[in-house]
Amino acid sequence: MSPQAPPVATARALAERIAGEVGLVILGKPDEIRLAVSCLLAAGHLLIEDVPGVGKTLLARSLATVLGLDFRRIQFTSDMLPADITGAQIFERRSERLVFQPGPVFAQLVLADEINRAPPKVQSALLEAMEERQVSIDGESHALPSPFFVIATQNPLHQAGTFPLPESQLDRFLMRIGLGYPPAALERKLLRGDDRRELLATLRPLVDPGSLAGLQTAARAVRLGDAALDYVQALVRYTRESPEIELGLSPRAATDLVAAARAWALMNGHEGVYPEDVQAVFTAVAGHRLHGRDAGLPGAVEPARKVLDEVAIP
């Protein structure tokens, strides 16, 4: 069933090339790009949380191009209906029958832009699709393409008319990353340089869906030793027991952490999952699922950061 995994060195080189290629378009964000790539290698969905205009869409588009995925962008709005995403039965005039008209979610890489603008019903329609990798309309299920990734973006500010994703929904994103403003020097270059969007046109796919699946298999095959497993468990246990954290990491989060750490280890050419691999992805994987009790108070430390500092590496 699972496709042939390429040798580790090849897999690593390919993953590096993907990240490098995307880095040509998104300047000065190598870590974020690598996180995004490893998120996709771990077959997970990505949530990018940042203010508008920092290149979220551009990142999603470049990834889609480089990975050779067909791309669809859905702009979420407050007046949307679930059918606007999933599609609906439409009466076809010529055949005088109702046929299923697939919605925009039927793409290999879906950019769900400003997901928090849509009402909860719409959000959950998308999240169901992410989870089940299929869409059920009128008792009929329609499989989504494979691979299937969702990159959702949301605005961190609670503006009027937004619906923040509830915790159970956030749990479905493997990672949440921020992009942030580019460093000043790079921004200068950006200001002076070409329009990045034009650069996008120069990108060429590096992999086909088959070899992308091979990369995912290679990531799943990265060795997770007992020592690394102990570390993951220690981290998870800490979040569940710490009085400073409202809700500990779910089993799904723990699984996601392992998957992401494996993908990261693959990208770094490690023989197995090293503690640094776990740490590198921990904030991205756990950040959006952990809430400190003193969140919002001045001087509050981000819980994920604190966990990493506190938990000893076994």
Binding site: G225, A227, H270, E271, Y274, P275, E276, I313
Partner: protein
């Protein structure tokens, strides 16, 4: 459930496991293959090939109606070949046949277990056959191989690789050793045997006999075999005084000498001597007789079941079938006074009527010329010396009056001829005399500082009752004094056509002597360890004459102590196994912290800490990074090879970072 069952099924038929069991059988059977009837190895080979064919090519295994007649046939064949089914020879043959048959029907774990047990018993039987030091190697190799086969046979789920199985077997055996040693030393040794030993009695052990017939032997076969080894404890008597007494022959029938059966009431000899005393320790090879060899006049001995016979010979109550070690103290030289009854003296004057008339006539003539008994005996020796008597290992055969013919016609013979003739001459003159068989001299081994006495050192001499005491008279010394002074080996080496002992080469001789020293130690410490040696050892350790029951309790206590120790060691080892790598890394971090003044934080990854160190101490950067990478690969990359781990540990030990150079600069 079904999956598990099928897994086990497939394991049962695993050809590797079969190969292990068959290998064990081969290992156990190998020492026997050359000794048993030739059809047995062929049968084994045939059955083995058939089984291999069955495992590899899917040949059918023989059905029950073939196997049963085949087994009966094998049984009968053994019974016919050996005319017996018991005893070591026939028993091991039977075991081999059983093993071969079992091979043909081996299907499951239970069958393979039976094969392993047969192999173990074959190994055991091999020791009954032969106990030389070479068999120790066989003991080690055999137990190791068969234990590994047992390990593999017991596995239901997964086989170990060959090296792994041998390693585990070796570990188990090493753990078994202390207990085995304790049991070996303390297990109550009872003087056997409990049932008859047909094989031992029938396989003739060369050595001294209770009878000599000089006229009947045309050539003395001198064997290189070792009769015994002796070690003197303080001071060695001169080589010429080394007369090891064995059976004393007091009865002469006109042709040969034999041991007299004295009346049962005869009290053991009471001895009084003014000779020089020597203490020594003897390891006697099995010889089948009851006598224990001892120097001239035994005064004390450590064999509890031995006593002095009426002729001052040291006799054990049972025949010696196994290597036997004892200590003794003897007096050499001087005269020996022992209370000897009139009956004893009369017996030593006995001569058959009408035999060897010329000898009797010579005796009467010479006695008349001599002033006293002592002078008479001196004249006899002079006679041997002056007349053309020759020492020869190939004397002509003698006829009806052997002593007459020897003294007057052939005048050629070896020690038995001279001793016999002298004793007859003495008796004819009214001097009680007897022939003593034993060994004379010996070969000194400087490596172990002990004497090797071979069958070739066998000798016979005369003891005569002069002035109320027994005196040793060796007529051979009068004829061939070098035989006594230098030992027989050298005489033979020089003798044309004689047996050339290859030991005379110096290099070869050295090797041979070293090897013999090893063998001697083996015999002395291991093989001769029996009830007596055990008793001695325990007395030496301060136990008062332990009884078997007390000994069993002692063995039990010591064994339990061993077990507790084993458990404790096992627990300790397990605790450490996993975290060794981690401990090594912590050691590295401590050293780095000392060198940089910046300890590693608990949540800091090894890589992160390595780069911190690299920033603080660029001189340590390369090695720190290399070691950290190695650690990560080993602990998290899971290559987990013990060799790599060892290499990491070695490299870590060599890494001794100096204190911060900044601190040195300030000083």
């Amino acid at each position: 459930m079904a999956a598990a069952a099928s897994t086990r099924q497939s394991m049962e038929d695993s050809p590797q496991q079969l190969a292990w069991a068959a290998g064990a059988l081969l290992l156990g059977g190998l020492p026997h293959l050359l000794a048993v009837a030739p059809w047995i190895p062929l049968l084994l080979l045939g059955c083995g090939l058939w089984r291999i064919g069955a495992a590899r090519r899917g040949w059918p295994l023989p059905a029950l109606w073939i196997r049963i007649p085949l087994a009966v046939l094998g049984f009968l064949a053994v019974a016919i070949s050996y005319r017996s089914i018991s005893g070591i020879q026939a028993g091991s043959a039977l075991l081999l046949v059983m093993g071969a048959m079992k091979l043909l029907e081996t299907r499951g774990q239970r069958d393979r277990m039976v094969l392993i047990f047969i192999s173990l018993f074959l190994l055991f039987a091999a020791f009954l056959r032969e106990q030389a030091i070479g068999m120790l190697a066989w003991l080690v190799a055999g137990t190791l191989g068969i234990s590994a086969a047992l390990l593999q046979t017991a596995r239901q789920e997964s086989l170990l690789p060959m090296a792994g199985a041998l390693r585990l077997a070796a570990r188990l055996l090493v753990q078994a050793l202390p207990l085995a040693a304790v049991l070996f030393i303390l297990f109550p040794r009872l003087p056997g045997p409990f049932w008859s030993l047909p094989d031992k009695a029938s396989s003739g052990i060369s050595g001294l006999s209770e009878e000599i017939r000089p006229g009947d032997i045309s050539a003395l076969g001198l064997s290189d075999a070792i009769a015994f080894r002796a070690r003197f404890r303080d001071g060695t008597p001169p080589a010429g005084a080394l007369y090891w007494r064995g059976p004393v022959l007091e009865h002469f029938d006109g042709r040969g000498w034999s041991v007299r059966r004295p009346p049962a009431s005869t009290p053991p000899a009471a001895v009084e001597t003014d000779g020089v005393q020597y203490s020594y320790e003897l390891v006697l090879e099995p010889q089948g007789g009851r006598w224990l060899l001892a120097l001239e006049t035994p005064l004390q001995w450590s064999a509890p079941r031995a006593g002095l016979g009426p002729a001052m010979e040291l006799l054990n109550t049972e025949p010696i079938h196994d290597r036997f070690s004892y200590r003794a103290r003897s007096a050499i030289g001087g005269s020996v006074r022992s209370a000897i009854g009139a009956e004893g003296l009369a017996a030593n004057l006995q001569l058959p009527a009408g035999r060897n008339p010329r000898t009797l006539e010579l005796a009467t003539r010479l006695r008349a010329a001599a002033t006293d008994d002592r002078d008479y005996l001196q004249r006899l020796l002079q006679l041997f010396h002056e007349q053309p008597f020759r020492y020869s290992l190939k004397p002509p055969l003698l006829g009806a009056q052997p002593v007459d013919e020897f003294l007057f016609d052939t005048r050629s013979g070896f020690c038995e001829h001279y001793a016999s003739a002298l004793a007859v001459l003495a008796r004819a003159a009214g001097i009680p005399a007897r022939v003593v068989a034993g060994y004379q001299g010996g070969e000194h081994n400087p490596i172990g500082d002990y004497w090797i006495i071979r069958q070739a050192h066998a000798h016979a001499w005369v003891e005569a009752w002069v002035d109320g005491a027994w005196r040793r008279i060796d007529p051979t010394a009068a004829v061939a004094p070098e035989r006594i002074e230098r030992g027989i080996g050298e005489i033979l080496a020089g003798a044309p056509g004689g047996m050339r002992l290859w030991r005379s080469s110096r290099v070869v001789g050295g090797v041979v002597l070293s090897w013999d020293a090893v063998n001697a130690a083996w015999d002395r410490w291991v093989l001769a360890f029996g009830p007596e040696a055990q008793e001695r050892l325990l007395l030496g350790l301060g136990f008062r004459m332990p009884r078997p029951l007390q000994l069993a309790l002692l063995a039990g206590a010591a064994a339990s102590l061993c077990l507790v120790l084993l458990a404790w060691l096992g627990g300790r080892r397990r605790q450490g196994a996993r975290d060794r790598l981690r401990q090594r890394y912590d050691g590295l971090c401590r050293r780095l912290a000392a060198a940089t003044g910046r300890p590693r934080r608990p949540g800091e990854t090894p890589s992160a800490y390595a780069s911190v160190v690299a920033g603080l101490r660029p001189d340590l950067a390369a090695e720190t990074l290399a070691l950290t990478t190695l650690y990560l690969q080993l602990r998290y990359g899971g290559s987990g090879d013990t060799r790599d781990t060892a290499a990491f540990s070695r490299r870590l030990r060599r890494f001794r970072p100096a204190r911060a150079p900044a601190a040195r600069g300030r000083r």
